[in-house]
């Protein structure tokens, strides 16, 4: 890696102060560090946010779950409260990367990075999450703006992610055979007011499937999906899957998710 300064912040204010120029935040580093090693990214300063008190941890209420941004995937997966309140979210966390990535990788890092094939962004969209930063609250619908892009401004730090507790929900992932990221991941949630379906892995960024949401709102069952036409237009094409195949898998995963709700 090219040289940089490593600095640890102890609170969000310090972190924001340190995050000037070509600096960025470092949580688990599961994506950032490989990118820097391959020289695909370079920064002057890495601001460690793992020592900031209060950024890690899980708080559960009847309506929502708040997860601190430096909470690791392993912690979310192991949390009994999350398992009880939103089991699909524990399952999603349990299926991210491998055990070593889960021991290190964080929810905030995953969301801030917004990899088009990451799992957590789909949970945010489906569970109508609110992303609390050191500056403001951002609705998940506004947060993910494009491939590796988010609404976050320079120096803005995610503090917690607040998920709405759904009536029922499930996440079904069809992994890329090589990377084990989502080739297609579909998160289905029946919330109090609406049904949400978020798709990851298939497009340039996570997105909500209007077609699936509309049929499932009327009839929340796997059979309701049978006649939905998922367009392949705009879906990713790479050596692992064509847009047509991804469109098909969206439907299969949606059915699987709804069936396991």
């Amino acid at each position: 890696m090219k040289s940089f300064n490593f600095k640890s912040a102890t609170n969000s204010k310090d972190a924001a102060k340190l995050a000037t120029g070509r600096a960025t935040y470092l949580a688990g580093g599961m994506t950032l560090l490989p990118a820097m090693k391959l020289r695909l990214a370079a920064y002057s300063d890495l601001i460690n946010i793992k020592k900031i008190k209060g950024l890690s941890g899980i708080k559960v209420s009847s309506k929502s779950i708040r997860i601190g941004s430096t909470t690791t995937h392993a912690e979310v997966a192991a949390s009994k409260e999350v398992g009880k309140s939103i089991p699909s979210l524990s399952m999603l966390a349990e299926g991210i990367g491998d055990p070593q990535v889960r021991n290190r990788g964080t929810i905030g890092g995953s969301i801030a990075n917004n990899d088009p094939a990451a799992d957590y962004p789909s949970a945010c969209l489906a569970l109508n999450a609110t992303i609390h930063t050191n500056k403001r609250k951002i609705l998940s619908d506004k947060f993910f703006t494009g491939m590796f892009e988010t609404e976050l401004k320079k120096g803005e730090l995610i503090e917690t992610i607040e998920f709405e507790v759904p009536e029922k929900s499930a996440y079904a992932k069809f992994p890329n055979p090589a990377s084990r990221y989502a080739l297609v991941g579909v998160y289905v949630a029946k919330l109090k007011k609406e049904v949400r379906v978020a798709v990851t892995g298939a497009g340039s960024s996570v997105f909500r499937s209007k077609e699936l949401e509309s049929v499932l709102s009327k009839n929340f069952s796997a059979s309701a999906i049978e006649n939905v036409n998922i367009t392949s237009k705009g879906l990713n094409s790479d050596i692992h899957a064509s847009p047509e195949y991804r469109a098909h898998i969206i439907k299969v995963m949606a059915r699987k998710a709804v069936s396991s709700c």
Binding site: K2, S3, A178, S179, I239, H240, A241, Y245, K251, V252
Partner: protein, 790 residues
Amino acid sequence: MANLVGARLERKEDKKFLTGKGRYTADINLPNQSYAYFVRSPHARAKITKVDHSKAMKAPGVIDVFTGDSVALDKIGGLICGWKIVSHDGKDMKCPPHPVLAKDSVNFVGDHVAVVVAETLEQAKNAAELVNVSYKVQKAVTKTEDATSFETIHEGIDNNLSFDFLLGDKGKTDEAFSKADKIVKLDIINNRLIPNAMEPRAAIGDYNTSSDELTLYTASQNPHLDRLIMSAFNAVHPEHKFRIVSPDVGGGFGSKINVYAEDVVVSYASKKIGRPVKWVAERSESFMSDNHGRDHVTHAQLALKNDGKIIGMKVDTIANLGAYSLVLAAVTPTYLYAPLILGIYDIPAACCTVKGVYTNTAPTDAYRGAGRPEATYVIERIVTKAAKEIGMDQAEFRKKNFITKFPHQQCLVHNIDSGDYNAHLDKALELADYKNFENRRSQSAKKGKLRGIGFSTYFEACGVAPSAVVMSIGAGVGLWESAEVRFNPTGNVSVFTGTHSHGQSHDTTFAQIVGDKLGVAIENIDIVHGDTDKGPFGMGTYGSRSLAVGGTAIVNACDKIIAKGKKVAAKMLEGKPEDIDFKAGEFILKNSNKKKTIGEIAFACYLPGTFGDVKSPLPEGVEPGLIETSFFDPSNFSFPSGSHICEVEVDEETGETKLVKYTVVDDFGTVINPMIVEGQVYGGVAQGVGQALYENAHYDESGQLTSASYMDYTMPRADNFPQITIDYTCTPATSNPIGAKGCGEAGTIAAPAAVMNAVIDAVGSDISMPATSEKVWNALKKNGSKKAAA
């Protein structure tokens, strides 16, 4: 002491690896060491108009920068093709120049252009970004089938055709086809693979300015061959002043046979700057620049009589050599492939053509199995198709055509000394519970899965190889093997072998042989390999040759030790050498209770005289010392064979294929350590399954390697496999005294066909490797599956 052979002994080498004490090339750090980083071509094909390294030279920490001009100036030779093939018209194959640092042109992404040597790796890497190479980018060709119609990429090599090889009697084969009741045709692609040994390649050049000795530490399967090539062809350093050490090596699979540009360049650079120069590949460099494997396009035809008897076979293959021809690049798709297309069937007439073509891709060469997986894939796929087309059970069809009498001279090349093909197929049918397969198929169907079964009854030619034979067909070296057995005065034994272990467990297997042979405890036997300064010249490890050829050299050296021991014992026991028996470590005078242990004899050999208690004068004419060397050149290849039966379940909705049952029965001849042999088979099968279901080296139209990391190149992982069942039958090899046939590549040779036959059986139509979910889904849709379409 006896009966080490055949025992499931735990490995002698394990403790160091398990406690983190293995010593791989990257673990070695030398005083005053510098670091090399290579500038590689980002283009698949381009002319180099200028290499400007002036900025890099001024960068912090930079010691020197070398380019194609530097190596040309110092007359460093290019990389070679070590086994030359002759085309059917009698012309030699065409090999383009392959400089260790490109001078005028680059021909694949990753081609080595320059090297920066600096005080730290970071500095070398930073400075490499400052080397300004001006390229005139040209259109590239990557696809095997496009090569001959593409413009010439190497001057003087028309149609990008290196050789046009023919094996077999075309006239006789045409005649057989004219008498056929049915001709079965098959088009297949053998996908390109990247070997992916877990240890990336590494090399450290260490020139001693005082003694003029050069040492190269490198991750190699064959250090002596490397030294020979680097001395004779690359003109790096004279052989007698050149030592190559290949310490612990983390897997080879063929990818560490070649002398690579990096080996030559770090050696050269060390001589130039008078300091050690270290290079360790990053994984992305391994993907780009290790030799790749396979990459064939083939059309095969089988001529049948109505009763299912095969009467002829024709195969036409185009083999992609990549951008240059590496050491075994040409022999792999010709002599290691074409003779094997007959499989274990009695086929009276056959011919095979192979066009070797150049493209703008990484050079291909031997990859585990080398030629034999490709051949097995052709014959086992077409035999399965033939059985289906004439409506015969696939096991019955195979049995009808099996060779049953040995020795058997095949119509192409090989004379198979021994085997019993019905025996291993019958055992496999039993173990795999073939008769109840249809029940399992219906049970899978109830879960919404399509179940398929696939066979691969393979054979291979290994134990490479008789020198006279291989040299008569173009090999630049003989393929004998050496061993030296040194009995030390204190009674322990050092065994030097010219083979190299990079996972094969030689430390244990060879020690078991020596232990039984000499009656020495296994912990008192040390197997030494991988250092040209220690043992005699040897050819290295590849082609499942180590036990059959290298092991035999060890046995023969042991026999010489025993023969000399008998002379010494005769003197000490006051008898005649012919009256001395040797058994379990003791020399015994017949019809007496007089005996000496081999340790006592060894001691006597080193103290040939009398003083005090020591009374061991040697017989007249016997030299002191107890060290014997043997060079073994086999009379024939060895021919392991076996039956693999695979079952898969295909998810009809997604096309995802899961391996659910896998049965292997092998005939490896004599097995020294079944635990080790099974390990070779498990690993081999996993690589074969990888080829069939997951792995694919993919180049895009412009020649970029789009599968250049583990994010995109699908490596088989633990959760891809069920337990594999393994058993054996045994017909000993007759070409070596051990009776061993070789086991290292068998799994990889047999598995792709077994798996693909199962997938095709499940899906009901042809699919190319790797059988990715999307390919299977497309096939299912085409076949009218409602679930796949929904």
